[in-house]
C-alpha cells in the first residue's frame, strides 16, 4: 500500500432537520402537545482514512448516506460532529475564507451530467471560472491556454469551448464536468456516482478516462457508487455503508473474495451476473428502515439472518479482521457467523 494519509475522516456525523417551522413540529401524543424535531440521521459516526494515490469507494444502496458523506467531506454540508483532516490538518471547522486554498486541492465530480453544468454558461466560462477565482493574476491568454489544455486532456475538442452545455451529449458533459474539477489542479477528487446516469458504452469511456487521469496526475479518488461491479473495477479499497454507518472496510480483493459483514454478503450476492441462470442471492427480510427512526444497536439487525439479542442492544464497532479488513459486526467478532 501507499505511504501517506491524505484525507482522514473521524467519527463524522451529519443530521438534517426536516421538521420545518415550529408549527410543523407540533405533535399531539398522549393527550398533550409536544414539539418534536424530525431528524434525518444520514451519516452516523463514520471514520476511515484515504491514502495518497489510491481509490477508495463507498458503496451502498440509496439512502445509506454515501452521497451525504461525500458532500460533508467536501464541506458542502457542515458536520454535526466529527472531524475531517487533510494531510494532517483539521479542515472541517475552517471558515470559507480559510478553506479557500483547500478548494484547489480537493474537487468534486457529480452524478447528473445534465444538472451539473450551468446551462447559461459557455463551456469556456465554466472552465475559466475556477481558474480565475483561485488564480486571479493569471492573464487572459494563459487562462485560455489552460482551458484548451484541460479540454484536450478529457477528450473534448477545444474548438467547442464557446458552446453551451446543452449542445453536448451526456458523456461529453461528464467530461466537461471532470475538466472543471481538474481546472485548479487538485490532488483529491470526490466522485459522486459519476457514471450512474450514463449508458454502458459511455460508462466505459468515463471510467477509462478517470483511470488514465489518475495515472497521469497521481490523483486520489473517493468514489461513490451503488454499482458493485464498477467499484470492483476501479477501487483499491471499498467501504460498505448501510443506513449511515460503515459496515465493512476492506481491500478490494479481500472484500470480493471473502465478504465478512452479512450485509456485504447479501449485497455481493445480489449483483446481476452475466451468464448466471436464475438467482442464488441471499434474501433479506423486510424493508430498509428510514434514517429518521434508526433501529437500536446494529442498524442492520432487523434484516440480518444472524442477529441476536446483543445485536439489537449494542452498536458494533469497526474491528480488524485479517490483514486488510475492518468489520462492524458482533457476529463476526464473536466468530459465530457461518463461513
Amino acid at each position: 500500500m501507499n505511504t501517506d494519509t491524505l484525507v482522514s475522516i473521524r467519527d463524522l456525523h451529519k443530521h438534517f432537520d426536516i421538521s420545518g417551522g415550529w408549527l410543523d413540529q407540533l405533535r399531539f401524543t398522549g393527550g398533550r402537545f409536544a414539539r418534536r424535531k424530525t431528524l434525518v440521521q444520514a451519516v452516523n459516526g463514520v471514520s476511515f482514512d484515504i491514502m495518497e494515490g489510491e481509490t477508495v469507494s463507498v458503496v451502498g444502496e440509496s439512502g445509506c448516506g454515501k452521497s451525504t458523506l461525500a458532500r460533508t467531506v467536501m464541506r458542502l454540508y457542515p458536520p454535526q460532529a466529527g472531524e475531517v483532516h487533510y494531510r494532517g490538518r483539521r479542515i472541517d471547522h475552517l471558515s470559507r475564507e480559510q478553506f479557500k486554498p483547500y478548494r484547489t486541492r480537493m474537487q468534486m465530480i457529480f452524478q447528473d451530467p445534465y444538472a451539473s453544468l450551468n446551462p447559461r454558461m459557455r463551456v469556456r466560462q465554466i472552465l475559466e471560472e475556477p481558474i480565475r477565482f483561485h488564480r486571479p493574476k493569471t492573464s487572459g491568454s494563459e487562462v485560455l491556454d489552460r482551458v484548451a489544455e484541460i479540454m484536450q486532456q478529457v477528450g473534448v475538442d477545444p474548438e467547442w469551448r464557446e458552446r453551451y452545455p446543452h449542445e453536448f451529449s451526456g458523456g461529453q458533459r461528464q467530461r466537461i464536468s471532470i475538466a472543471r474539477a481538474l481546472a485548479v489542479d487538485p490532488e483529491f477528487i470526490v466522485a459522486d456516482e459519476p457514471i450512474a446516469a450514463l449508458d454502458v458504452s459511455i460508462q466505459a469511456q468515463i471510467l477509462n478516462l478517470m483511470m488514465d487521469l489518475q495515472e497521469k496526475r497521481r490523483l486520489t479518488y473517493l468514489f461513490i457508487s451503488h454499482d458493485l461491479s464498477v467499484v470492483a473495477h476501479i477501487s483499491n479499497r471499498v467501504a460498505v455503508m448501510y443506513l449511515g454507518t460503515l459496515c465493512e472496510l476492506a481491500a478490494i480483493d479481500a472484500l470480493f473474495d471473502r465478504p465478512r459483514h452479512p450485509y456485504t454478503q447479501a449485497l455481493l450476492s445480489a449483483i446481476p451476473r452475466l451468464g448466471a441462470k436464475g438467482f442464488q442471492h441471499q434474501r433479506l427480510t423486510g424493508d430498509v428502515p428510514t434514517p429518521i427512526d434508526l433501529p437500536s444497536g446494529c442498524v442492520f439487525h432487523g434484516r440480518c439472518p444472524h442477529a441476536n439479542d446483543r445485536c439489537a442492544r449494542e452498536v458494533p464497532t469497526l474491528r480488524p479482521q485479517g490483514q486488510e479488513t475492518l468489520v462492524a459486526c458482533h457476529g463476526v467478532a464473536e466468530g459465530r457467523l457461518p463461513d
Binding site: G20, L23, D24, L26, R27, F28
Partner: protein, 325 residues
C-alpha cells in the same frame, strides 16, 4: 391530519391578528375617532378631555388589544355616515354580495370543469380552440367593461333584462334579504353574475385545462390505459381526481379575487351589496366602515381559505395520512 388541522387553524388565527393590526393602524393614522362621536363643533380642550377619557392616549398595543377585544364581541366601531354600528351596516349589505358570489361560483364551476376537461383531452378540436380563444379574450376584458357592455346590449339596446338593483326581494329568517325566490330577483341576478364570472370562468378553464393536460401525460395515466380501463374511467377517476387538488387550492385563493371584483360589478349595477357600500365609504372617508369592511372581508377570506385547505387535506391522502405536505 390532526397536526395539519391545528397548524392550519393556528395560521388562520395569526393571519386574522395581522389583519386586525393593519385595520387598527389605518384607524389610528387616518380616521379621527372623535369625529364619530362629536362632530366638528367641539372646543380643543373638550377634545383633549374626551381623548383622555376614551383612552386614546394609551400605548398603541394597549389600544390594539382593546380594539381586538371589541372586535371579538362584534363591535367594529360606528359608521360615521350611517350613524349605526359598522358591522350592522355590513351585515345588512352582505346577503346581496354573497348571493351574487354564490351564483357566480355556481356558473364558474358548472361550466369550467366540462370545458376545461374537453379542451385538455381534445386540444386540437375546433370547439376546444374556440373555447380557448374566447377565454383569452375573456381574461383580457376588465369586469367593469363587460358589465357596461352587457347593460348596453341587454338593457339599453334590447331591453330584455334590468340594468340595476336587485329587484323584488324576499326577507328570510334573520333578516336575510334574498333575490333567489322571485322571478324578478333572479332576472336582476343574471347580468351581474355573468359579468362577474366573465373573469373567473376563463381563468378556471385555462387552469383546469393546463392541470389536466399535465396529469394526462403522467405515467399513471398511461398505466391506467395499459390496464385496459375504459377511457371514461381513465379520464374522470384517474385524471380528474388528480387535477382537482391544485384546482381546489387555486379555487380558494380565487374566491378572494371574486369578492374583490364584486366591488366593480356592484358599482356598475348599483347592486346594494358590500362592494358598493365600500366604495361609498371611501368617497365619504368613513374610516370605521372601511376598516370594518377590511376586517369582515378578511375574516371571510381566511375562513374560506382555511376550509378549502382542510378539504384539500381530506381529498389528498398524502396529507390525510402523513399530516404534512
Amino acid at each position: 391530519m390532526f397536526a395539519f388541522f391545528i397548524r392550519r387553524v393556528t395560521q388562520a388565527v395569526f393571519v386574522m391578528l395581522v389583519i386586525s393590526l393593519i385595520g387598527f393602524t389605518i384607524k389610528q393614522s387616518v380616521g379621527d375617532p372623535l369625529r364619530e362621536i362629536t362632530g366638528i363643533s367641539v372646543s380643543a380642550a373638550e377634545r383633549d378631555a374626551l381623548r383622555e377619557k376614551l383612552g386614546l392616549n394609551d400605548p398603541f398595543l394597549l389600544q390594539w388589544g382593546r380594539f381586538l377585544a371589541r372586535a371579538l364581541q362584534g363591535d367594529l366601531g360606528n359608521s360615521f355616515y350611517f350613524k349605526r354600528p359598522a358591522l350592522q351596516v355590513i351585515l345588512g349589505k352582505a346577503p346581496a354580495t354573497l348571493e351574487l358570489v354564490f351564483s357566480t361560483s355556481l356558473l364558474v364551476v358548472l361550466l369550467s370543469i366540462p370545458i376545461g376537461i374537453y379542451a385538455a383531452v381534445r386540444p386540437r378540436a375546433w370547439l376546444a380552440r374556440f373555447f380557448m380563444g374566447v377565454s383569452i379574450v375573456g381574461v383580457s376584458i376588465p369586469v367593469f367593461l363587460t358589465a357596461i357592455l352587457l347593460i348596453y346590449v341587454f338593457s339599453v339596446g334590447l331591453g330584455w333584462l334590468p340594468s340595476f338593483g336587485r329587484g323584488e326581494l324576499v326577507t328570510l329568517f334573520g333578516g336575510w334579504q334574498s333575490g333567489y325566490f322571485t322571478s324578478d330577483g333572479l332576472k336582476h341576478l343574471i347580468l351581474p353574475s355573468i359579468a362577474l364570472s366573465s373573469i373567473m370562468l376563463p381563468l378556471f378553464i385555462r387552469l383546469i385545462r393546463a392541470e389536466m393536460k399535465e396529469v394526462l401525460e403522467t405515467d399513471y395515466i398511461k398505466y391506467a390505459r395499459a390496464k385496459g380501463l375504459k377511457p371514461g374511467r381513465v379520464l374522470l377517476v384517474h385524471g380528474f381526481k388528480n387535477t382537482l387538488l391544485p384546482v381546489i387550492t387555486v379555487g380558494g385563493v380565487q374566491l378572494g379575487t371574486l369578492i374583490a371584483f364584486t366591488i366593480l360589478t356592484e358599482t356598475v349595477f348599483q347592486w346594494q351589496g358590500m362592494g358598493a357600500m365600500f366604495i361609498e365609504a371611501v368617497d365619504r372617508a368613513d374610516t370605521s366602515l372601511i376598516v370594518a369592511y377590511l376586517v369582515f372581508v378578511g375574516a371571510l377570506f381566511v375562513t374560506v381559505n382555511t376550509v378549502v385547505d382542510l378539504v384539500y387535506g381530506l381529498v389528498n391522502p398524502m396529507i390525510r395520512i402523513a399530516g404534512r405536505r
